[in-house]
């Protein structure tokens, strides 16, 4: 191993990267600017959506309204429900999105209610109408309230205290700390961003250092020097890993600063956590070091993969067309594992490349990690990275690949 040569190649590639505005943009500027914009933007958007749903008035039309005057009157008085007249067939009105919901009253509504027989009202909805998404829950709440009123009246008639309607009530006591809730929410978004920047941050450097050398016709001059290819590959690999790591650190730092100082409630509003209680975003030094350490291993793996893919191409454009599908292949299982609801992790999952990092990030953020998971993730990522570097070096030794132009 010729460390002097490795450092020479590494420094050259880093300098080249810094001088390339395109690479600099994707490496530093984009993560620094995009993360606050996304966090603040998503937070505001989430708040707006929640408020919008809460405030949305559901329009309801009745068929055979005359058969249940009390029920219709109750619905008219219910908060955020507006009863409208619809002369034509109700199904068509709902399908044409003229109303959010339709209720078909049976002729024997009053008769059945009086005789204490259950009444079935048909609820017509258009499930693909996004604007009417809140209609089922609003109508269900309104009907439940009407039922409560009817039952209350029946109990009063029979001189029974309506309080007997309530048998058991549930009082929620969440034992998760505010920090844990914050970490749980963060666990949905932070790992995805780390993976994204671990790939895209080093992507341009990987292409420039391999396919770019071919396109510029400098590769042969480089191979003519008395530096062994393994040293050239390691130098280039370190440059790709450095740029990717700078991206990851920039994005995580920018995210940290934004969440700490912007007052964004992306995580505290329950938009991601699904909880309505307060959640606090915080990263203690131990968590931060673990996150950065695992990110580094992830970056090493992705950098070697990017470099290997790029050397097959003979131009920048061709390399991009190879990397795009590879990006999808890498990111797809990660997205699936990241978004599976109620996923119960088992030990073998921590041996899956990249997926293991995602799962560990989540555990670390919530504070429920085990040393076994950490060790297996570290060992497997180190092994995969080493294999990837060996493969990259082999590719650089293949005449038909490295001199393809």
């Amino acid at each position: 191993m010729n460390f002097r040569a490795i450092i020479t190649v590494w420094l050259k590639e880093m300098r080249d990267t810094v001088r390339d505005r395109r690479t600099l943009l994707s490496m530093v500027v984009l993560p620094l600017a995009l993360m606050p914009a996304l966090i603040v933007g998503l937070g505001k958007f989430g708040e707006y959506q929640v408020q919008k749903l809460e405030q949305q008035v559901v329009t309801v039309a009745f068929e055979n309204a005359a058969a249940a005057p009390d029920f219709v009157t109750f619905m008219k008085s219910y908060d955020k429900v507006r009863v409208v007249e619809e002369s034509g067939p109700l199904t068509e009105a709902v399908k044409a999105d003229r109303v959010d919901a339709g209720l078909v009253i049976p002729d024997d509504f009053v008769q059945n209610l009086t005789s204490l027989t259950p009444v079935t009202v048909t609820f017509i909805r258009h499930s693909t109408n996004q604007n009417a998404a809140v209609a089922p829950s609003r109508i269900a709440a309104a009907v439940a309230a009407y039922n409560q009123q009817v039952l209350g009246e029946r109990f009063v008639t029979q001189e029974i205290d309506p309080a007997v309607l309530t048998g058991v009530t549930v009082k929620e006591d969440d034992v998760a700390t505010d920090q844990e809730r914050g970490g749980f929410g963060l666990g949905y978004i932070l790992p995805m961003f780390i993976v994204m920047w671990a790939i895209t941050g080093g992507q341009y450097t990987a292409i420039d250092a391999s396919a770019g050398e071919k396109e510029r016709k400098t590769i042969e001059s480089l191979l003519l020097t008395p530096v062994k290819r393994i040293n050239i590959v390691i130098g280039k690999f370190l440059a790709v890993a450095s740029t990717a790591m700078i991206s990851v650190v920039a994005s995580v730092s920018s995210m940290y600063v934004t969440l700490t100082y912007s007052g964004s409630n992306l995580f505290t509003s329950g938009t991601l956590t699904g909880t309505s209680s307060e959640a606090v975003f915080s990263l203690n030094p131990g968590t931060l070091v673990t996150l950065i350490g695992i990110s580094l291993l992830l970056v090493l793996l992705f950098s070697a993969v990017m470099l290997t893919i790029s050397i097959f191409a003979k131009s920048f454009k061709e390399a991009q067309s190879y990397i795009s599908p590879a990006y999808l292949v890498i990111i797809l299982p990660i997205v699936i594992f990241n978004s599976l609801p109620g996923l119960k992790t088992t030990l073998w999952m921590f041996a899956l490349p990249a997926v293991n990092a995602i799962l560990l990030f989540k555990e670390v953020l919530v504070g429920t990690y085990s040393m076994g998971h950490i060790m297996l993730t570290i060992v497997s990522l180190v092994v995969y990275s080493a294999i990837a570097i060996v493969v990259t070096t082999k590719m650089y030794e293949r005449e038909n690949i490295v001199l393809k132009s």
Binding site: V9, R15, D16, R216, E220, S221, N400
Partner: protein
């Protein structure tokens, strides 16, 4: 004083196959210090492959070559230290200045910073590059890039220098610079291997030549000896006679 008679480059039965295609077939020749040796042949004859195999960029299938006694099979890194190659493609790192390009390659050749700066100064003067050496090479003209490529190929002051089609695509002034550089290197006791298909340039510069056609050396020796053997009066006619003979056989 180096022994001028001992070949600095000794190529013996060099063969390179790419799967079923034999790019060069048992190529043999010697080149000495203080001479410009011509490696002549039409496009696709195998000149570049020969250079790439000797410089260990490509692996050898059969045969071998030695550069100053170092075998390309046994000591590829040592061979690389002894030779410089001006490749046909004159690619440069365009976001680097000319000086930075040279420093990078000097570092890869393991040169000390002091020696690097002295050598760069020397080459900038020799190739008249001072005016543009500190500009990013992306802004260079073809001639400027060619000068930078020459400087890069000899930054480590090698004894053996390959010039692979160095004047192709250059204007008269730039081509003249290249020719002068080769002559100067020869005068300083270097061994210059000039690979070209432009025969009138070779006839003016080379003392000895090897004519390669379809991967086979069809003739080698001094220009006069080839003319004599083919009963022709110039290198071009000798070349056509040898290539034609090989085609008929």
């Amino acid at each position: 004083m180096e022994d001028q008679a001992t070949p600095l480059l000794d190529v013996r039965g060099l063969t390179k196959r790419f799967k079923d295609i034999t790019a060069i077939d048992h190529v043999s020749f010697q080149a000495r210090r203080g001479e410009i040796f011509g490696l002549l042949g039409p496009n696709g004859a195998g000149k570049t492959t020969t250079i790439r195999v000797i410089s260990t960029v490509l692996s050898v299938t059969e045969g071998t070559a030695t550069v100053d006694g170092f075998d390309i099979r046994k000591a590829p890194e040592e061979v690389k230290k002894q030779l410089g190659v001006l490749t046909t493609d004159i690619g440069v790192y365009e976001r680097f200045t000319g000086r930075e390009n040279l420093r990078y390659f000097a570092a890869l050749y393991g040169m000390s910073p002091d020696r690097t700066e002295k050598r760069i100064d020397e080459l900038l003067d020799l190739l008249d590059m001072r005016d543009f050496a500190d500009r990013r090479s992306g802004t260079y003209s073809t001639g400027m890039k060619q000068k930078l490529a020459i400087a890069r190929s000899v930054i480590h002051d090698p004894d053996l220098i390959f010039f692979d089609e160095p004047t192709a695509g250059l204007d008269v002034l730039a081509a003249r610079t290249v020719v002068r550089f080769m002559e100067r290197a020869r005068d300083h006791g270097k061994c210059v291997v000039f690979s070209t298909h432009i025969l009138h340039e070779a006839e003016k510069l080379c003392t000895r030549v090897a004519i390669i056609h379809r991967g086979i050396v069809v003739g080698d020796g001094t220009v006069e000896s080839l003319e004599h053997a083919t009963t022709t009066s110039n290198l071009e006619d000798a070349f056509l006679a040898l290539v034609g003979k090989e085609r008929r056989s």
